[in-house]
């Protein structure tokens, strides 16, 4: 006698449950008025430098806290500590952050009711693109030393971001990088990207980036949408 078989049709994104939970965390951050920013980039593009430059620009004007994801060492956290409360999320080899780490890090900081919570993802343009962390904004940092071909090579990271920060513009005279080419390729993937050229090291363009963040938080407080769009 043959055993009976049945097919249960599901048709569901494997990450849907995690995304739902991440969005509940994001909603709780919305209620307390904290804008959560997920920073994604290759290693060395300047995520930590961008946060430093942001904190330097704001001074006491705005409050922020930082969660730093790193595979090993707390060097980035040590760099940021003079500027803001920082929790280190050492992933022990994992290539990306997931929302439970972010929630745990925020609790480890004592659940600060800051205006901005920066989550510095693990340096990687592949895996972090698939994992929502409860962010309101996903910003991708692309540095001029990496080459302007990165948007076309890593489309998912650019498609799922709302802002593209082109860092190390002070080196443009020395490297074969076209801001226009990177911008055009990125906009072909995500037409609603806000493109912000900066030099975190020299402090160039940081005012526009900071204005972008404060405008984002203002929208959040006004109850207007500011949400990461996954299937736009």
């Amino acid at each position: 006698m043959n055993a009976r078989r049945e097919i249960v049709t599901v048709r569901r994104d494997v990450l849907a449950t995690a995304r739902q939970q991440a969005r509940e965390f994001r909603d709780s951050m919305t209620r307390q008025g904290t804008l959560v920013v997920n920073l994604i980039s290759s290693p060395g593009a300047g995520k930590t430098s961008l946060i430093e430059a942001t904190a330097r620009h704001w001074g006491d004007e705005h409050s922020l806290a930082v969660l730093v994801g790193d595979i090993a060492t707390d060097r980035d956290a040590a760099r940021l500590r003079p500027w803001a409360p920082v929790a280190q999320l050492t992933t022990g080899g994992a290539c990306h952050l997931e929302w439970p780490l972010v929630e745990a890090g925020w609790h480890a900081l004592g659940r600060p009711e800051v205006e901005f919570l920066f989550v510095e993802n693990v340096g990687n343009l592949v895996c972090p693109a698939s994992h929502e962390l409860g962010e309101h904004l996903r910003a991708i940092v692309l540095s001029t030393t990496e080459g302007d071909d990165k948007p076309a090579k890593y489309p998912k990271a650019f498609r799922t971001s709302q802002a593209l920060v082109i860092n190390k513009t002070d080196l443009l005279a020395h490297v074969p990088f076209s801001v226009e080419a990177a911008r055009a390729d990125a906009l072909a993937i995500q037409p609603d990207l806000t493109v912000l050229p900066v030099s975190a090291w020299r402090g160039l363009g940081i005012d526009a980036w900071c204005d972008y963040l404060t405008a984002g938080r203002r929208r959040l407080l006004e109850g207007r949408t500011c949400a990461a769009t996954w299937r736009p």
Binding site: A3, R5, V8, R11, D13, V14, T17, S130, R159, L187
Partner: protein, 125 residues
């Protein structure tokens, strides 16, 4: 390499589905998972070989030794918000080939989707 964490999420979903099916039918029969069918498109961020090896490591201890993973490769599909054309291509394409519009909605191919679970009822003697 995040296939391991995708497999953990996948296996948890399958476990939940088996448990719910058991409750719904409530006939006391044992059901084992014989096939887990997933769809992955070109923007899913999934390497099929790595997914298969992560599944082979993780699934037997949770779903039993008979659970087989079937990975279907699907096209990338977008819907044009301007001219309402739906297009499928093997590679990701973020504009409408019919009218050139850049604002398109991704319908398929950007996620790892659990398509179905095949259950087998253990035969009664």
């Amino acid at each position: 390499m995040h296939e391991r964490s995708l497999v953990l999420a996948l296996v948890r979903d399958v476990e939940r589905i088996v448990a719910r099916r058991r409750e719904e039918v409530d006939d006391g029969a044992l059901r084992r998972v014989v096939e887990v069918r997933v769809q992955a498109g070109p923007l899913a961020g999934v390497e099929p070989m790595l997914l298969a090896s992560a599944f082979a490591e993780t699934a037997p201890s949770v779903l039993g030794p008979d659970a087989r993973l079937v990975i279907e490769q699907v096209d990338f599909a977008v819907h044009c918000d301007a001219c309402a054309t739906t297009t499928a291509t093997p590679e990701p394409r973020f504009s409408c080939p019919a009218c050139g519009e850049r604002r398109v909605s991704i319908l398929q191919g950007d996620a790892l989707v659990l398509e179905s679970v095949l259950l087998e009822e253990a035969s009664t003697p």
